[in-house]
Amino acid sequence: MAKLSKTLEIRTSPHVISGYSADTIMFNVVLALIPVTLFAIYAFGLAALLTLTTALGSCLLTEYVICRWSGKPSPLGDWSVAITGLLYGLILPPGLPLWMTFVGGVISVGVGKSLFGGLGYNPFNPALVGRAILQAAFPVSMTSWVQSFTPGRFLSLPSSTLTLPFTEPIYDVVTGATPLAAWKFDRELAGTGDLAVGYINGSIGETSAVLILLGGLYLVLRNMMSWRIPLAILGTVAAFSGVLHLVDASRYASPWFMLFSGGLMLGAVFMATDMVSSPMTPKGCWIYGVLIGALVVVIRVWGGMPEGVMYAILLGNALTPHIDDLVRPKVYGTSRREKSA
């Protein structure tokens, strides 16, 4: 018998791991966003295509440059910055000047992510950070909505898209109000069917609720997304606005309208569920979701703006560490909760 001589590798247990990897999860989030993205391009044509490309490109470029500067290996392979870029593009108005889109992308990744230490360390959803800063810097451009499904959308661009940096954008095409703004300022209600399918105006990716929900369902079934967060947000919005609607149907819109309008679906399904900036415990997810849902209704109904999803989620992000601390599960075999760290 041959003498067994072999170099053995040692490592501590476990010697097996589950198939999930951070990059697989991120890649699947990108996959889940593809139908939403394709519909957005179908709805808004060339403008959406250019905006999404610029958004994605600026985010990827920023990540690449910053990592080169700081000497870190390029993290582009983990797909996380692709999610940021795609989501960021999807929450912009379709006619936004491309240079603004670019600036916002640099801010999303540079300020929203890298400044805090990169993947895993960002307290806020980077895409929302970029959009929030654009909203503050360019309030008019950020609330000018190009009409969806215009006949020439694949052949021509709204002139605003190609505005030179630091000049006033001119809107040559018809701009239309979003359903939320129409309701808030003019008390006009869009049909729920149009809202659900996406035949409405609004940000690039917030129009088709059905596709957003399907994408979310896919991720939940693969255990790559918390189902509690979207359920809590949407449930709270429905319940809260439902009560208001019962009190005074002429002043307060119906829960259906509240659920399917604006950025709520995209926010609840793809933004608030960002793993890094949302709570880890099941109980924490419920609290976080209810909080965001309530804030959305409060801002929409009593705030100065027609839409409040972005600020509601950013506030929820800010509270995440405190929520996690508050609802620490009871450790096995102890009667007390873990001491606050």
Partner: protein
């Protein structure tokens, strides 16, 4: 807690079971190695004191070392042969420990020496405890804690339920499965002894649902004189951990830092119970045990009754291994320790030998990402710790804080967090390092 009608605990993970290749294979006798090396530290506690000298001839089953105090057990000759020496030998922990080298007589029939029987009917509980220590019995599930120590129940404590652990939740291993199929009478005899010692009102044998034939076999042969039942449990890791099993079966939580006795339960592994039932009526000691030899790199996989002290090199040469053998570990893949030397021996605590090829090993070498706070580990930890946060503290070297504020010392290193982590952070490894550091600091503080 119940899940689809089966009892279980909360949280936990589902690693691939990988048991099919050996679960149907009956226990076979493993040949004697040319030299058997019996380490004198095979248990938690003090080394045994050798009672043989170099050149002495011993009979299989004869005692070759005696217990040094209460936290120690006897050792027995795994074969009739000549003592070739007593010297330091490598052990799985990496430490060198004293070991007895025995060269079996060639051509011997290897009859086992009979000792003084410990009769079930007449022996007092104390006599049974002493007989168990004399037989060198330790927990055969892997922990190797001396069984008689566990059975010494303090005056102010009592046991109402004796739990026999047949969960065998570790992937790959099928020894307990085979023991439940092939040693039913030994098992029930062992339970009789254990029940006499503990005074337990009832006995529950917990078996995971992936061993329906074992549960069926035990149920068919339930003796009338024992208040014993078989409970089928959900297949989930770490179901076989003492605390998890107690919670699954009785709904009681063992207090942090406490013992099963604090909730009036006592857990004994099926293989340990069967061994007690096999040895005590004949006054014998543990000289061999059942192990699973398995893994993709092993050619002749199976369950073997193997002499204690069989060197790993002889074991692997006998069953045959693939050329790209890359990692060998004792036990299953979730908690088993990888060996750095093939010169270490099979001990009483070895429940299996698993060998991986490069393919399986490479699968685990993945790029480590930062924690993305996915919460998978939080949902996996059976103790309800927050491994994500503990991991961050470990990287910052905050070991004391981990222990004082985040219940680090409650971690029993099941590895569920590392298993699920999509960022491939070696969480449980860092917790082991942290726990060792905290224990050292505490020992230094106490001294």
């Amino acid at each position: 807690m119940r899940l689809l009608g089966l009892k279980t605990f909360r949280h936990g993970v589902h690693p691939p079971e990988s048991k099919d290749e050996t679960s149907g294979l009956a226990i076979r006798q493993f040949p004697f190695a040319p030299v058997l090396i019996v380490p004198l530290v095979q248990h938690m506690g003090k080394p045994s004191i050798p009672t043989v000298i170099e050149g002495q001839e011993v009979v299989r089953g004869q005692r070759i070392a005696k217990a040094d105090g209460f936290m120690s057990v006897s050792m027995h000759a795994p074969a009739s042969g000549t003592v070739r020496g007593i010297a330091l030998v490598p052990s799985i922990s990496g430490r060198m420990v004293p070991g007895v080298f025995i060269e079996p007589f060639p051509g011997s029939t290897q009859e086992t020496a009979e000792g003084t029987p410990c009769p079930l009917e007449t022996a007092t509980p104390d006599e049974i405890v002493a007989a168990i220590q004399d037989a060198g019995v330790v927990g055969l599930g892997g922990a190797a804690f001396p069984t008689h120590v566990k059975l010494k129940i303090p005056e102010d404590k009592y046991v109402d339920t004796l739990i026999i652990n047949g969960a065998e939740c570790e992937p790959y291993l099928t020894t307990d499965h085979r023991v439940m199929l092939e040693q039913r009478d030994d098992l029930f005899m062992g339970i009789r002894y254990l029940r006499k010692v503990t005074g337990a009102e009832r006995v529950i044998i917990g078996v995971e649902a992936n061993k329906p034939d074992a549960a069926e076999n035990l149920r068919e042969g339930l003796p009338d004189d024992l208040p014993v039942s078989v409970e089928v449990l959900t297949v989930k890791y770490p179901q076989g951990a003492e605390k998890m099993l107690i919670t699954a079966l009785l709904g009681r939580e063992v207090p942090s830092g406490g013992l099963p006795l604090d909730v009036h339960a006592l857990c004994v592994n099926v293989a340990t119970a069967a061994e007690i039932g096999r040895l005590l009526p004949h006054g014998r000691g543990i000289q061999e045990r059942v192990i699973t030899i398995t893994g993709p790199a092993v050619k002749d996989k199976g369950n073997y009754r193997i002499p204690i002290g069989t060197p790993l090199r002889f074991l692997l040469e006998t069953v045959g291994v693939d050329d790209d053998l890359t990692r060998v570990f004792l036990g299953g893949p979730m908690m088993g320790a990888a060996v750095s030397s093939l010169d270490i021996s099979i001990t009483k605590g070895t429940s299996g030998v698993t060998a991986f090829t490069e393919t399986e090993v490479e699968r685990t070498y993945r790029h480590e990402y930062p924690c993305i706070r996915c919460g998978y580990c939080v949902d996996a930890c059976p103790i309800f710790l927050n491994p994500s946060q503990l991991g961050i503290l470990a990287m910052a070297g905050e070991y004391q804080r981990m222990a004082e504020e985040n219940n680090l010392m409650d971690c029993f290193e099941c590895g569920s967090c590392s298993f699920v982590c999509p960022s491939h952070i070696p969480l449980v490894h860092r917790f082991r390092v942290a726990k060792t550091s905290v224990r050292r600091a505490r020992a230094a503080g106490a001294a």
